[in-house]
Symmetry: C2
Subunit: 202 residues, 2 copies
């Protein structure tokens, strides 16, 4: 994806940068750009009328956002907010719409990307509803560890769709329950260690 963009620099594509904590796409508004993250981590969340947030994914390097709205010609359905400092390619929506039709490679990539995202979303929605929170927590820790970032508890709780209170409880219970494997649980474990824990998870 980055190759494509680097080559296309002609068509009004610019490089934008945002400080941590900036919400650069707002739910309900119309974005003028499609962004492809070059560096940094963002969260992608829906805020419901009752004030609660649901984070449905974290976006990192090479991932795209805002494309759904161009394809469907709708307003943004979620907020995108930076967690770390972020630089991103900004492609004007009109430009993107043209590219989408003209460029077969981009088109193929898009299809794959969307397909992947649907599958991920489904799988996650499923295990988040059907397994105890512990399981989701371990998977989230693994994600975090692989991306080499450290999310705040609030962010992690929002991702798991529980309160911070429940989040804390879950961690303690994991430590206490599985005396052997979990007693050393902490939030900065390596992907390998977490992989091990996930496998042992009864």
């Amino acid at each position: 994806m980055e190759r494509l963009l680097a080559g296309e620099q002609a068509g009004g594509i610019t490089l934008a940068s945002f400080p941590p904590g900036e919400r650069f796409i707002r739910q309900g508004e119309t974005s003028r750009y499609v962004y492809v993250i070059r560096d940094g981590i963002t969260k992608c969340y829906i805020r419901e009328d009752n004030g609660k947030d649901y984070i449905f994914e974290f976006l990192g390097k090479g991932e795209i956002t805002g494309e759904l709205e161009v394809i469907r010609k709708t307003v943004c359905l979620c907020n995108i907010e930076t967690i770390t400092a972020v630089t991103a390619y900004a492609i004007p929506t009109g430009e993107f719409a043209l590219l989408m039709r003209a460029d077969a490679e981009l088109n193929g990539l898009l299809l794959e990307e969307l397909a992947t995202r649907i599958q991920q979303t489904c799988v996650r929605a499923s295990y988040q509803q059907l397994y105890p929170v512990e399981y989701g927590l371990l998977r989230l820790l693994k994600l975090q560890s692989e991306a080499k970032v450290r999310f705040s508890k609030k962010n992690m709780a929002d991702y798991l769709a529980i309160t911070v209170r429940s989040f804390n409880r879950t961690i303690r219970q994991l430590r206490e329950k599985n005396v052997v494997s979990m007693e050393g649980l902490h939030l900065d474990m390596s992907p390998q260690e977490l992989e091990e824990l996930l496998r042992r998870w009864e």
Copy 2:
């Protein structure tokens, strides 16, 4: 979509029909066809290792299934099972892969379809996690009513990711709580009536 298919009948596309309760795509296996439902209702669900099912959508007339697996070249991630009797166009996967590249219109439709599905999935995952079950229940009833079908309680419960016991409780509570608007709640209300209830929902 149906137009497209009707025209393409040449390329090995056949019409398949299944009795109610038939699981014609199995999680973990490789399907040899992409299906487009011509008539009837199916459920699309993931079965987790612990035996619980998560229905993430009901598919009806004109909707496609199995395309994600072709795009990503993976095994099926969910089961598709008929609820009513179903007839569907069966497109051999290889054929579909060709069409996808060759036919710009199909390609565009696919993109839109996937984009729509992502948005729906996200929105649903969000309100299902952040709102009390009542809300999801009303929306499900509306869906059911619009599609003019009657799902079993088990199916509805699986869709809401709760047990049948909780499902029953929720219905009773809805009836008892909002004495005025809900007392007449039943499972065969019209879309209009349900729309009204949803609007009044505090």
